[in-house]
Amino acid sequence: MSRATEFVFRRRGGRGWHWTDLFTWFWLVAGFVLMFGPAIWLVNSSFKTPAALAEFPPTILPYVTAEVTVEGYDKPLQLFEVTLEDGSVRVFAEVRRVGTVAQMVDPANPAEIIRVNIKDRTPVRTVSFATENYVQPFLAFDMFRYLSNSVFVTVMATIITLITNSMAAFALSKYNFRGRATVMVLIVATLMIPLSVILVPLYSVIAGMGLFNSLWGVILPTVATPTGVFMLRQYMLTIPDELIDAARMDKASEWQIYWRIILPLTAPALAVLAIFSVVWRWNDFLWPLIVLSRRELYTLQVALNTYAGETNVQWHFLLAMTVITMIPVVLVFVFLQRFITTGIAGAGLK
C-alpha cells in the first residue's frame, strides 16, 4: 500500500509535494468545473420538458413520465409501477387520484379499476430528449428571423470593418502626410469613449439618417473600430517599403498596391480582426436594443432579453434559444481560440 501511494505521489526531480502544488491542482480543477459547468448545465437543461424543469430536486438526465393511451379514455394516461399486496410489481395507468388513493387500470384490461395507495406506486420514467424545445422556437416564434438578422449584422459589419480598417491602416502606415499624427491620436483617443457615453446623441444621429429600426443602424456605427485600425497598422508597419517602391516602378497604381500587395501580406492580422469582429458583433446587446424596436428586426441577443423579461418565462424555449445563440461562439472557441489568446497576449487588446 505504502509503495502504491509512493508511486502515485512521486514527482519528477524527487522533490516532495509543496502546498502550492496542491493549490495549483485545486485551482485548475475548480476552474474547470466553474467555467464549463454552468454552460454544460444550460445545455443539459435545454433538453428537458417543462414538467422536468419544474421538478425539485432536478435530475441530471432529462426524464419524462411514460404515458400510454388506454381504450375508453381520451387523454393519454401516466404509467406507474405498482407494488401489489402480494409483493408482485405490475405496471398500471392512472385514471385519477382522490386523496391518497389512486384509481388505476391495467392497460391490457381497461375495464377493471384498481384502487392503489399512492405510497405503493412510483412513476415509470424514461430518458427522453425534448428536442421540441429546439424545433418549436423556429416554428412558433420568429427564431429563424432573429438568427438571420444576427447573421446579417455580423457578416456585413465584419466585411465593412475589414475593408475600411485595412484601408485606413494602409494610409497610416505607408504614407507620409500632414496630420497623420493627429489622426492617430484621434483614433487612439476614441478607445476611451465607450458607447454608453454617446448613447443619446448617437441615437439622434441614427434617427436623423432614417436608420432607426434598420439593421444598418446597428451595423454602421460599429465598423470604424479603433482597435482594428491600430492592430492592422502595427502589422503593416512590418511590411518592407521596398516592395511598394518596386511596384510603383512597375507602374502599379496605389489601389493595386493596396489590394495586390498589402492585403495578401496582412492576411494573418486580417484573420485575427475578422475573428474578433465576428465575436463582438454577434454579442452586441445595448446598441441593437436601442436601435431596434420592431420584433421582426431583433437580433438574437435582443430577442433573448425580451423573452427572458416576460412575466411567464418559458424557460424550456429560452434555454434552447440560448444554446443556439452560444453555438457560433463555442465554434470560435474550439477552433480559433488559439488566435484570439495569442492576439490578446501580444497586444493586450479587446
Binding site: 485548475l28 436623423g208 446587446f285 461562439v329
Partner: protein
C-alpha cells in the same frame, strides 16, 4: 474561391482610382484610403461627442435638437441638487445618486476581487503544467460568451429551483433567493462579472509573467531564497506594469458595467443593482420619465471619469517606459 470575386471587384475599381491618383497624387490617395473609416468615425463617434454637450443643455422629451428648448445648465443642476450626496433620497434625481453609489460600491469590490483572482489564475497557469494551453483556454471560455448568454446561464443557476439551491439542499442547508435578496443580488452581480471576464485579464498577466527572465529565479534559488520571498521580490515588482494596466482596464470596464447584470437582475431587487449605464439607458430611452437631456448630462459626467482613468493609465504607461529606458 472566395478570393476570385473579391479580386474581380477590386479590379473594377482600378480605372477610376487611377484617374483619381493622376489628379490627387500620392497625398490624395492617402486621403482616399483614410476617408471611409474617418467618415464613419466622424459621423458616429466625434459628431455625437460634440452633440452630447449640446444635448445636455436642452430640456424636454423631444428627440431632435430642433424641437428642444435651451435650458442652460439646468440638467446638471438637477443632477447635483442634493441636500446630502450620501443619501440619494435627499436628491432631486434620487435614481442618479443611487446608481452612482451602487456603481462605486460595485467598482471597489469587483476591481479588488477581479485583480486578485486574475493574478492567482495567472500564477497557477505560469507553473510547469502539462497542457498549459488547454488550461489557459478553460479560463478563457466565458470571455467569448455574449453578456446576454452569461446573464441567462447564471439566472438559470441562481433561480429559486436552480443548481445552486440544489447544492444547498443536498448539503442540508436552507435555500436562498439569490436574485431577490439585496445583498445576494449584489454578490451575484460581482461574481458573474468576474466569472465572465477573469480569463481575459489572467491572459494579460500570464503574458507578463512569461516575460520575466527565468535566470532571475535560478540565481535566487542558488542563493537559497525561499519561494515566498521570490514572489514578493522578483515576480511582483517585475509584473507591476502589467498589473497596473489590468487594474486600470478593470476599473474602466467596471464603471460601465451594464449588459450581463441588466439581464441577470434587471437592476433589481428594487434598485439594488442599478448601475450608471442602466440609469443613462432608462432615463434616455426606456422609462416613462424620458429625459434625453438629463441622460446626456449624466453620460458626460461618466465620460469625464473614464477620461481621467484612461489618462492615468497612459501616464503610468509612459512612466514605466521611461523607467525601462534608464
Amino acid at each position: 474561391m472566395l478570393v476570385a470575386p473579391v479580386g474581380w471587384l477590386a479590379r473594377l475599381f482600378d480605372p477610376p482610382l487611377r484617374a483619381l491618383q493622376r489628379v490627387g497624387g500620392y497625398g490624395g490617395m492617402a486621403v482616399f484610403f483614410l476617408a471611409p473609416n474617418m467618415l464613419v468615425f466622424g459621423i458616429f463617434v466625434l459628431f455625437p461627442l460634440v452633440l452630447n454637450l449640446v444635448y445636455s443643455t436642452t430640456g424636454g422629451a423631444a428627440l431632435f435638437l430642433g424641437d428642444r428648448s435651451f435650458v442652460g445648465l439646468a440638467q446638471y443642476e438637477r443632477l447635483f441638487d442634493c441636500s446630502n450626496y450620501l443619501d440619494p433620497k435627499s436628491c432631486a434625481e434620487d435614481l442618479f445618486w443611487t446608481a452612482v453609489w451602487n456603481t462605486a460600491g460595485f467598482v471597489v469590490v469587483q476591481v479588488v476581487l477581479m485583480v486578485v483572482v486574475a493574478l492567482v489564475t495567472a500564477l497557477v497557469l505560469n507553473r510547469e503544467l502539462k497542457a498549459r494551453s488547454f488550461w489557459r483556454a478553460v479560463f478563457f471560455f466565458p470571455v467569448l460568451l455574449s453578456p446576454v448568454v452569461v446573464g441567462l446561464i447564471w439566472k438559470w443557476i441562481l433561480q429559486r429551483q436552480g443548481l445552486l439551491n440544489l447544492g444547498l439542499y443536498e448539503l442540508g442547508l436552507t435555500q436562498v433567493n439569490w436574485l431577490i435578496e439585496r445583498g445576494w443580488a449584489f454578490t451575484a452581480a460581482v461574481g458573474v462579472s468576474i466569472w465572465a471576464h477573469v480569463g481575459f485579464y489572467a491572459l494579460i498577466l500570464l503574458a507578463g509573467l512569461q516575460a520575466i527572465p527565468k535566470d532571475l529565479y535560478e540565481a535566487a534559488e542558488m542563493d537559497g531564497t525561499r519561494p515566498a520571498r521570490m514572489f514578493w521580490r522578483i515576480t511582483l515588482p517585475l509584473l507591476m506594469p502589467n498589473l497596473i494596466v489590468v487594474l486600470v482596464l478593470v476599473l474602466i470596464r467596471s464603471v460601465q458595467i451594464f449588459d450581463e447584470v441588466y439581464v441577470l437582475t434587471g437592476g433589481g431587487p428594487g434598485t439594488a443593482t442599478l448601475y450608471l449605464t442602466q440609469y443613462i439607458y432608462e432615463i434616455g430611452f426606456a422609462s416613462h420619465l424620458r429625459n434625453p437631456g438629463l441622460a446626456s448630462a449624466a453620460s458626460i459626467l461618466m465620460g469625464g471619469v473614464l477620461v481621467v482613468l484612461t489618462l492615468l493609465q497612459l501616464g503610468i504607461g509612459r512612466r514605466n517606459e521611461a523607467r525601462g529606458k534608464k
